[in-house]
């Protein structure tokens, strides 16, 4: 699991590692005891069964109580983090995300900026049945889009996630953000990208949404607030002029130049 680049993802990563090590610890003890029995209490070594050992209230209370204590120890930090990361107040930027079969529409609330984001052309060609194109030759196969979402770093962003057809789920592992897009509902989720971590972050739809479920990636480009403001202004101007941006143009105008699919 990535440590990620947001306040949310880092806390989740910490919790994940804690859960993992607790499980490893329990496993070491329990599997250790069982392995000891398997080795030393086998008949071929002449072990004789202690048939009187059938019940021991004290031991049973202990091994009920210890797991309870461990669980409370795990539940408390989990609950704290859960409450903290589910705080959607005071967002500085609202983006509406609408899932559809099979792509995403992004709308910057309060601006006319709105566009559709679909699987990049080269990936789309390579992923056809028996396309003859080796996916290894396609940069970021299945994880590129024609028109990525652009967000500013260091800014609290609230996503309003919904869908027009079936249920989708918007996920960027590096953000620790996964939210179902459900027709008729608007789900909220918030995050802040670290100011020093601009870059391109990739994810996928994680709720089975039909034939091309595997082919609706999420690509987010995090840029500095100044670059974001400039980009937004440019997009606004173009949308006002009614310029219908082609996918290619849109991506070359994005602040961080990078070839897309």
């Amino acid at each position: 699991m990535p440590r990620g680049v947001t306040n949310v993802s880092r806390q989740i990563y910490g919790l994940h590692m804690m859960g993992f090590w607790v499980c490893v610890g329990i496993a070491a003890v329990v599997f250790g005891v069982m392995t000891w029995s398997l080795i030393f209490h086998r008949r071929s070594r002449g072990a004789v069964a202690d048939v009187t050992m059938v019940h021991n209230t004290k031991v049973e209370i202990i091994w009920t109580a210890i797991p309870v204590i461990i669980l409370v120890g795990m539940a408390l930090p989990a609950a704290r983090i859960l409450v903290r990361i589910n705080n959607n107040a005071h967002a500085q930027l609202n983006i509406r995300i609408t899932g559809f079969q099979w792509g995403w529409q992004y709308q910057y609330v309060g601006t006319p900026v709105s566009f559709i984001s679909k699987l990049g052309y080269r990936s789309d060609r390579a992923r056809q049945l028996d396309s003859g194109i080796n996916p290894d030759t396609v940069p970021d196969y299945l994880l590129t889009v024609d028109h990525p979402l652009v967000v500013p770093t260091g800014t609290k962003i609230r996503l309003l996630v919904t869908s027009v057809d079936v249920i989708h789920s918007w996920w960027v592992p590096d953000f620790g953000v996964k939210k179902d897009a459900i027709p008729g509902f608007i789900n909220e989720v918030s995050f802040t990208v670290d100011p020093n971590k601009p870059g391109t972050y990739r994810g996928q739809c994680t709720e089975l949404c039909g034939r091309d479920h595997a082919y609706m990636p999420v690509v987010v480009r995090a840029v500095s607030p100044a670059q974001f403001a400039a980009w937004l202004k440019q997009e606004e101007a173009q949308q006002k002029q009614g310029v219908n941006l082609s996918a290619q143009q849109a991506s070359t105008q994005a602040p961080v130049a990078e070839p897309t699919g």
């Binding site: 069982m34 072990a47 797991p67 989990a78 079936v166 249920i167 179902d180 459900i182 027709p183 039909g210």
Partner: protein
């Protein structure tokens, strides 16, 4: 062994055993029906397994080589439905049919004709389900969870799916009623509830779960049916309905369903481990209460399958806590099994091998389950291969391994013959090694960000997918040994001497000859026999 019942068996020849096809089509005998259930389960296991082989073959490399993505989705959907409703559940019902009357000292199940019906519904249900592959449009491809609105998009196959589910549900409910009535009314005098073997106990609790939740599933799919054909809007947001409500209803069924598949496994493991540890089960009563607690808790954890749908924080907290609570009774069970082996005199015949593997590997599934319960972490795990790895550890190395262990444990009793022990050990080792090669890397894939239910993936996931696929093919092939071993045993196995196939075995089933007479306990076992079987 001069017990009174031996005499009754001697003149049990006039038992009116039907012959030919009538014996099976009109079967009312619990053993015959149990055998048919087990055979059906085995057939479905290989059909579902074949689907899995295609899935793993397509996932061997990135890019699409074998099937259309839509077909891939149908394969995952049918793989899930077939394995759950066709392989695991009927195997448990088959074992219940065979073992419950033997273990409680009854001649047969309480409702033999109902028993016949509940079995014979299944071939129709699964023919209907598998036939969806051959109708215009597509087979159901919305996942075994059948979430609307996606599942409503499939054409002619949709009503077939719904009716297949209805049939399976009816079959399960009838089977569960039969189990409850049998256990409540047919126990031999002296077989008090707290003397019952744990397999009987776990099945009794499972049967209550079945009766409680199968109608819920039937209701959910019926609501979807009326949404599709009669203009209702239960799950249609445009009509004022709620797609998430389906998930609540489905998982209110779905989570107890998980325990329906695993509780009888707990029962089997609790039979096998004492036998081969030559030591009574540790903490029998705690085991019973732990099973009941797990069953109760299973009703209040359903929304942990839905942490990303946008539940209120308070609901997420509740379901996280209730889910974590399940670890307590489950832990008690594992500790009790470990304590049963402690200071035992262990030997490792095939049933014990499967039981020990169950202990370790089911626990791994439990650990990943605990991690999944932590809601913030679940945001990252949800919908990825981490979940796939988790539930396959619980269902394959949990439920399926317990079923195989049970078959190897009781097959000498059923057939009166011993199977090829060396071959069975081969089956065990191949299965155990390759099931880990198959599923363990899926944890890594999930944590690295690979979503489940995708036919294609980004190239960085290639290596572990190839490892997983190789494990999958090898695991699949090794399973062919199982029917061969059983077939060979029944045809030409060495006859078992005496009633007790395993020296450490306790319980009433081991007091009858191998194979047992057609009508199991025509005369109730004596109090002394019952007490000896229930030494715990």
């Amino acid at each position: 062994m001069a017990e009174p019942h031996v005499e009754t068996i001697a003149h049990a020849d006039h038992e009116h055993m039907p012959h030919g096809w009538r014996r099976w089509v009109f079967a009312t005998n619990h053993k015959d029906i149990g055998t048919m259930y087990l055979i059906a389960s085995c057939v479905m296991f290989f059909i579902g397994g074949a689907a899995a082989m295609v899935i793993r073959a397509e996932l061997f490399e990135p890019g699409m080589q074998l099937v259309d993505p839509g077909v891939f989705n149908s394969l995952t959907t049918l793989h899930g439905l077939i394995m759950i409703f066709g392989a695991i559940m009927p195997a448990w019902v088959g074992l219940a049919n065979w073992m419950i009357p033997l273990q409680i000292g009854a001649p047969d199940m309480a409702l033999p004709r109902l028993n016949n019906l509940s079995f014979w519904i299944l071939p129709f249900a699964f023919s209907l389900l598998i036939a969806t592959f051959f109708v215009p449009g597509s087979a159901p491809a919305g996942g075994w969870t059948m979430y609307p609105p996606l599942t409503l998009q499939f054409g002619d196959s949709f009503p077939m799916l719904i009716f297949a589910i209805h049939l399976m549900g009816i079959s399960s409910i009838l089977g569960a009623i039969n189990v409850i009535v049998t256990i409540m009314n047919m126990r031999a005098p002296g077989m008090t509830l707290l003397r019952m073997p744990l397999f009987v106990w776990t099945w009794l609790i499972t049967a209550f779960l079945l009766i409680a939740v199968m109608p819920v599933l039937a209701g959910a799919v019926t609501m979807m049916l009326t949404d599709h054909f009669f203009g209702t809007s239960f799950f249609n947001a445009a009509g004022g309905g709620d797609p998430v409500m389906f998930q609540h209803i489905f998982w209110f069924f779905g989570h107890p369903e998980v325990y329906i598949m695993i509780l009888p496994a707990f029962g089997v493991i609790s039979e096998i481990i004492p036998t081969f540890s030559r030591k009574p089960l540790f903490g029998y009563e705690a085991m019973v209460y732990a099973t009941a607690s797990i069953a109760f808790l299973s009703f209040i954890v359903w929304a942990h399958h839905m942490f990303t749908v946008g539940l209120p924080v308070s609901a997420q907290l509740f379901f996280m806590f209730s889910t974590m609570l399940i670890a307590v009774p489950t832990g008690v069970k594992v500790f009790n099994w470990a304590a049963t082996m402690w200071k035992g005199s262990l030997s490792f015949e095939p049933p014990m091998l499967f039981a020990v593997a169950f202990l370790f590997l089911f626990s791994i599934g439990g650990f990943s389950g605990l991690m999944l319960a932590l809601v913030p972490a679940d945001y990252q795990y949800h919908g990825t291969y981490f979940v796939v790895a988790h539930f396959h550890y619980v269902l394959v190395t949990g439920a399926a391994f317990a079923i195989m262990g049970a078959v190897y444990y009781w097959l000498p009793k059923w057939s009166g013959r011993m199977y090829d022990m060396a071959l069975a050990k081969w089956h065990f080792w191949l299965s155990t090694i390759f099931v880990n090669v198959l599923f363990f890397p899926q944890h890594f894939l999930g944590l690295a960000g690979m979503p489940r239910r995708t036919p294609d993936y980004a190239v960085q996931f290639t290596d572990w997918n190839q490892v997983s696929s190789i494990g999958g093919f090898a695991f699949g092939l090794s399973q062919l040994l199982l029917p061969y071993i059983v077939w060979k045993c029944v045809r030409s196995g060495k006859p078992v001497e005496g009633n007790r196939a395993w020296e450490g075995a306790h319980g009433l089933e081991w007091e009858l000859p191998s194979p047992p007479p057609f009508h199991s306990w025509t005369v109730p076992p004596s109090e002394a026999l019952i007490a000896r079987g229930a030494e715990h």
